[in-house]
């Protein structure tokens, strides 16, 4: 029996596993549906916030302030305090493990004081620690190296199907072993969900990687957890039009213009993210095409300032930004909502089951996440949850599970294989993405949301008419993607309902029919509870 089972090998999962080791847990395993390094965390470039004050005078209180302000009243102040005050220690911890943070020259005599920091939107000072252009990647890889040092077990390509919960206590987890094509039951004293967000629901309209499909949120939801703040979905103004790849804010910071097809500017490019996003969206709704224009900066400047960006644009959009404007659109970037957890990061209705990172709603982001706070959250809270989950194991007596839960999961999967050659389900994934982007996008209203709700309910109901088109049990990628879609279709109605209920505009959630913030009625979290069947 495992002491601690971590699901997800992103920054949150790996920090949790290492912290569990530090706290004395003996048998720890990390399960993930993809090879260990294939996580959203690798994509983070910008940085990780910590009030070190290395470049400018800074203070933890200022960091707390900025975070609360961005969250528009919906942050849990105690959790924000915890995260921000843990930030310097979290950076120190990473430094000790060997993360190659970028450096500055300094005269003081302490290792941390040489870490460079940069400015990210919404922060009042330069507060984001970074590792060149690859902050997430370098943090993740360093954490991975440490898990190998401590011999932590990897359950390679294990897809979380469902949690096993008895009398309100987590007993274990059902997985689909992708390589062997079999259902596996893993028993553990405590379980940590670190499975990431659900941005992939906006298929074709998101910077997130394939597979950021909210599987952990869906599994917890089915098992009796509440989910909250699901209506808050953060958009980034400049995704490449065709490929949705992120063009970082630095392009505008360096003087890039946003223009329509006639070449006319329509917004102050350096305004806050949500203002820019709204302006672009309104133009697009009028039928205008929007471009990021960098031509006036000149070839030399572009080549030296944005070499990586140039390469990505040339490759993915078949245009040369030196001579042509770049077609862009706002795309989904981060999902603030998730599994509702208490202050120890445990799921209140499922004892022994914890959640951390983008899949969890620890309420540090509220209605709007600050750049750099997500990497901080996954490391700071990853460490805390690892320790909490380990402490929890001391109170668990070894107990085998009596029922054969695996059988039900097997039957469910077998069902999917009954008629694999029905029309391909992939068209549904496209439709889901399109529907959400059009109707549950940057600007919402009652009519659109109702329409979306109807449409996703229909998609959900029609899922059984579609097949996976691949009859092999082993390494069935289509099956994985089908299970992901099923989870997304299960969550979609829930999160659209939340958007319908919130009849106000706050942070990332903007209702055209209720354009004002309404503290009296909505200074609260919308929590949802699942009452359906385990397998639908």
């Amino acid at each position: 029996m495992l002491d601690v089972l971590v699901i997800g090998s992103g920054g949150a999962g790996l920090s949790a596993a290492l912290a569990a080791k530090e706290a004395g847990a003996e048998h720890i395993a990390i399960a993930s549906k993809f090879p260990p390094m294939q996580t959203q965390t690798t994509m983070a470039q910008g940085g990780m916030n910590a009030a070190l004050g290395n470049l400018e005078k800074d203070h933890i209180a200022l960091h707390i302030d900025d975070t609360l302000k961005a969250g528009r009243g919906l942050c849990d102040e105690e959790m924000v305090r915890l995260m921000c005050s843990e930030a310097p220690q979290s950076v120190a911890w990473l430094e000790k493990l060997g993360v190659p943070f970028s450096r500055i020259k300094t005269t003081e005599n302490e290792a941390l004081s040489t870490i460079a920091q940069r400015y990210l939107g919404g922060a009042s000072v330069k507060r984001a620690c970074y590792a060149q252009d690859y902050t997430g990647l370098k943090i993740l890889h360093t954490l991975y190296d440490q898990t190998r040092k401590y011999n932590i077990i990897y359950l390679y390509e294990y897809f979380l199907l469902d949690l096993i919960v008895e009398d309100g206590y987590v007993r274990g987890v059902l997985f689909w072993d992708i390589a062997h094509g079999e259902v596996r039951t893993v028993i553990a004293k405590s379980v940590i969900l670190a499975t990431g967000g659900f941005g992939a629901m906006y298929h074709n309209h998101t910077t997130n990687m394939y597979g950021t499909s909210g599987d952990g949120i869906a599994a917890a939801f089915r098992a009796g957890a509440m989910i909250s703040d699901m209506e808050f979905v953060q958009f980034h103004p400049t995704g490449l039009y065709g490929s949705n790849i992120l063009i970082s804010e630095s392009a505008r910071g360096e003087g890039g213009y946003l223009v329509d097809q006639k070449g006319e500017r329509f917004v102050d490019e350096l305004a806050p993210r949500d203002v820019v996003v709204h302006a672009i969206y309104e133009q697009m709704n009028k039928g205008n095409r929007i471009y990021l224009d960098l031509r006036h900066l000149g070839k030399e400047k572009l080549e030296s300032l944005l070499p990586q960006e140039l390469a990505l644009i040339r490759l993915h959009e078949n245009i040369d930004p030196v001579f042509e404007p770049i077609p862009i659109k706002p795309v989904v970037h981060y999902t603030m909502g998730g599994i509702d957890i208490d202050k120890t990061m445990e799921i209140p209705t499922i004892k022994g089951c914890f959640a951390v990172g983008e899949c969890a709603n620890s309420k540090v982001h509220g209605a709007n996440r600050l750049g750099g706070n997500s990497l901080l959250e996954i490391i700071a809270f990853g460490r805390i949850v690892g320790e909490n989950a380990t402490n929890y194991t001391h109170y668990v007596r070894e107990k085998s599970i009596d029922k054969d839960y695996a059988q039900r999961a097997k039957d469910d999967i077998d069902n999917i294989f009954v008629d694999v050659h029905k029309p391909s389900f992939y068209s549904l994934r496209q439709k889901l993405g399109e529907c959400l982007y059009q109707n549950v996008g940057i600007i919402r209203d009652e009519f659109n949301l109702q329409q979306a709700l109807q449409e996703v309910t229909l998609l959900q109901a029609s899922l059984s008419k579609y097949g996976i088109g691949d009859s092999e049990f082993k390494h069935n990628q289509a099956l994985t993607e089908y299970l992901e879609l099923r989870n997304m279709l299960m969550l979609a109605p829930a999160f659209i309902s939340a958007a319908l209920v919130r009849q106000e505009s706050r942070g990332a959630h903007y209702r055209k029919d209720y354009p004002k913030m309404n503290d009296k009625a909505f200074l609260k979290h919308i929590r949802l509870h699942y009452q359906g069947e385990m397998y639908g």
Partner: protein, 241 residues
């Protein structure tokens, strides 16, 4: 849209698909999967050249599928020297274990070190590695010695050896003597294959120097060879590297 034909082996049969040359190979693979053949199997995530999972071979050369545009007649294969599991997907477990063989991690943190920008540059390039394993697939040593620690694990070993926060580099240097630095033929194929401009060959040369400083010597010297000579039977000539 310009359409081109690409070929690959699927279920031991050569299969041909028509795809657009304007999109990346990865986008083309997804188009095939979504509209032509849902059983086509590969690994990919970020589509932005950072997660390292979509590396494969086109006409015998390693590429990231998400950073390559298909051309007429391209032949697509999975990475070499990995256990092939299905179509374009390989098992990376064994290769990841080379990191354990090399003990490539920070062993003992030196509390008193204060890193400078110069120290940062010492390991910047090596830590850019995205673990795509293209270099491993390109390395001819694996044809004769599957226990070779291999290029990316050695690059990573070097990254920690050069990290001034490491108190003692002996653990790593000891770990890379057998099936390690001396087994490399310095052919440079890994360096050519790397999509991130990393130079594992040079890192291995540096590790040899470090090994010598630590009292190790080239085990091949006793036979009178500078580098192990596998002859020309393996399709490469190390002396030309």
């Amino acid at each position: 849209m310009d359409k081109v034909l690409i070929k690959m082996m699927q279920n031991d049969k050569e299969t041909i698909y028509k795809v657009s040359s304007k999109q990346t190979l990865l986008a083309a693979l997804y188009e095939i999967k979504e509209t032509q053949n849902a059983s086509l199997t590969f690994n990919a995530g970020c589509r932005a050249s950072v997660c390292g999972t979509c590396a494969m071979r086109v006409n015998g050369r390693e590429v990231l599928a998400c950073a390559y545009k298909p051309k007429e007649g391209d032949f697509i294969e999975p990475l070499a020297y990995h256990t092939k599991v299905r179509d374009l997907k390989v098992d990376k477990r064994t290769t990841l274990d080379t990191l354990v063989k090399a003990k490539a991690w920070l062993h003992h943190y030196n509390e008193t070190t204060q890193l400078t920008p110069k120290d940062e540059y010492l390991t910047e390039r090596q830590s850019d590695c995205i673990m795509c394993e293209s270099c491993y697939s390109a390395c001819p040593v694996f044809a004769v010695n599957s226990n070779f620690i291999g290029p990316f694990a050695l690059t990573r070993a070097y990254r920690y050896v050069e990290d001034r926060r490491e108190k003692s580099t002996t653990y790593i240097i000891d770990a890379i003597q057998n099936n390690g630095v001396w087994d490399c033929t310095l052919c440079g194929e890994c360096t050519i294959a790397c999509p991130k401009g990393i130079d594992p060959k040079n890192d291995i040369v540096m590790l040899r120097t470090k090994s010598v400083q630590q009292g190790y010597s080239d085990p091949n010297f006793s036979f009178g060879f500078g580098t192990p000579d596998f002859g020309r039977d393996f399709g490469f000539d190390p002396s030309t590297g």
